[in-house]
Assembly symmetry: none
Homo-oligomer: 220 residues x 4
């Protein structure tokens, strides 16, 4: 097995795209199956079957189910990262104005609609991360990054007068990301009873600059 894993590691780099494609196929299959059956119901045979390969092939590429799960975490956090990146891919220059918080919430919402499995899989893996150090590390990193990103948004929004001026950027970011995660959960439990648009609009309103007071931001 040690041999096998080494071979796979070596292969990832050298053996052309075919191996990489197989890996991706397997990861994608696992991803879908986690969404459908949960980690509890995830079977390596099912993954292999859905990827159209033999079960042994799966072991050839990942060695062990746990190893595959680790790879999945990477796969999924990457996916999550993608989703959080601003619109224009590649051209995202730091110069252009950052999106508003409203836009961020909207994008989060659209993400979960476009990728209905993502929320579920993230929850599954988060839960697992509570017990699995490797996954935990990965998830912490992603969360930190996300929170930092939102914090930045808040800071810029406040500075630009789009948000109320008395915000504690870090705490605000924590509230916002927590809200999004919690919304994800509530949607999972009862999608019909939760109108994300409406609800996030309310939150947005709380963050608006105080009406009477002149915005303290970039002025005079």
């Amino acid at each position: 097995m040690a041999k096998t894993r080494r071979a796979a590691a070596a292969g990832k780099a050298s053996t052309s795209e075919l191996g990489a494609a197989r890996r991706r196929d397997l990861l994608e299959a696992a991803y879908t199956l986690i969404a459908e059956k949960g980690l509890e119901g995830l079977r390596t045979r099912d993954i292999a079957a859905r990827a159209g390969v033999n079960i042994s092939t799966l072991h050839y590429y990942f060695g062990t189910k746990d190893a595959l799960l680790v790879a999945i975490v990477e796969h999924v956090t990457d996916k999550f990262g993608e989703e959080r990146k601003p619109a224009s891919p590649g051209a995202a220059s730091p110069a252009e104005p950052p999106e508003s918080l409203r836009a961020h919430l909207e994008r989060a919402w659209r993400s979960f609609q476009d990728h209905p499995h993502l929320a579920t899989v993230l929850q599954e893996l988060s839960l697992r991360a509570q017990r699995e150090p490797a996954a935990r590390t990965a998830f912490r990193a992603v969360h930190k990054e996300w929170n930092l990103g939102v914090e930045q948004l808040v800071r810029q929004g406040a500075r630009a007068g789009q948000l109320r001026s008395d915000l504690d950027p870090r705490a605000a970011a924590a509230v916002i990301t927590s809200f999004i995660m919690g919304a994800m959960l509530q949607l999972g439990i009862d999608a019909g009873a939760f109108d994300f648009h409406h609800v996030s609009g309310e939150l947005d309103r709380w963050l608006a600059p105080a009406p009477g007071k002149p915005s303290r931001g970039r002025k005079a």
Copy 2:
């Protein structure tokens, strides 16, 4: 099962009470183990062992693992309901002023500290509820009730001038419950990076009445 419980309620002396105790022990054992190993790693043998009984006894009381899981959902949602009830049990007269939102957040926080497993188990079961109709129904009910309760709090807080007057109570409640759930998640991922007190304080601040405007509420 229903029969058993009814018998226990009727209290046919010691016999059924003892049976009810066994049931509770088993549920409690399962509860703890779910927190520790996750549903994925939950083994009936471990449950029985932790409850100090033979595995057959578990089946004697619950018949099947799935049935036990259903009972667990009830057990846990009950627990969650308990936690959300105002402080003084029994003396909670409807006349006394409702707790403030701040207090509600504090209590949620203390709950999760006093019952460190509750959050994890709730997440595990919520996830399962996405695929298991029985659990889903139970969870939806609890969520609806919770949201309604917070909505009431918001309404009263606004009327009393403790909260800003322009809130949409239902949406606000949804934001608040989502926030709490999301916070639960973030705490699970990285407890050290998330200061609930501080963060929830920020949210609280957003809900405060506008400073200049005279509070419309109970004054003069």
Copy 3:
């Protein structure tokens, strides 16, 4: 258990009819269940349930499942014996003319129609008897008795000129009983394809006295 069994043995004699009735109920329940599910699917709990008593009561009366099975063999062979006895119960005087072979076949047939389970249960137990000495002894006795009875019938029939005169009574009896048992089997497999009346009539015809030859029997 030894104590239990002794108590039961003592009870059978003394403790009034109630105990005996319970025993009979249990045996009857077991009998029916064997017919329905086979020995393979026979469960002591089902037996007790069908007899309307607790499982422990079954053990109180029979001690062990095997013991109950032994009792069942007795119960069933008794039943089978009953069925083979000529019509009038109690008044069956040895003086009255014995039934014809034809009548015997008919009665066997009616038996299996009136007691549809009997054939099945007999087969189940016969099979078991191949491995269980206690049952084997009982079955051998019954078979011997049956064969002897039929042998007697054949002898008398031949003497009376109702049957061909050149029969070997013992062998003939063996053929007849074997035929009945085999018919039972075939009926079990495909009742629709086997017309017992017609078929047994054919056998009967073979046993008829040779037409031309004067019947050697009761003549002159």
Copy 4:
């Protein structure tokens, strides 16, 4: 299963042949164990052990115990069919004179001596067939075929003057097959008390042409 067998038939070199051998080994092991312990005492673990493979291998080939049992029925009915085929395998030209009834009985007898388990296993499975549709179908087919074969024998025997001319071939066949089956049962119960040769000889005698009457058959 069908696929596996087809693959084996196609003979994809050694691989599938080896698989077919494993299957056969397992079936043979099961067959023997059914004879020894009965269906009641049949354990998959024992089957695997006797076949010299791991229990998982059994499930790899048959999936489930019931499926294996179905395969066993096929296996056994095939075996039974083999036994009933005329002596010379391959050279059995339809031109050569059919065996006499006497020979058929003899062969049946020898069959059960050469394959002492066959009778027992057939009984076990017949019994099961009463409750299991799949097995029932198979057994009905075999019985029908057997009865038809004997019917043919009777018809030819009568035509050839070897049997009495007034036989109802179909009914006669039913009597004969029933007799054989019943004899099987009696042998199972008390082999010592049943002399098949002698007894079947008696039956044979009943079927002989009437002595006085000129045999209508092939004569001058």
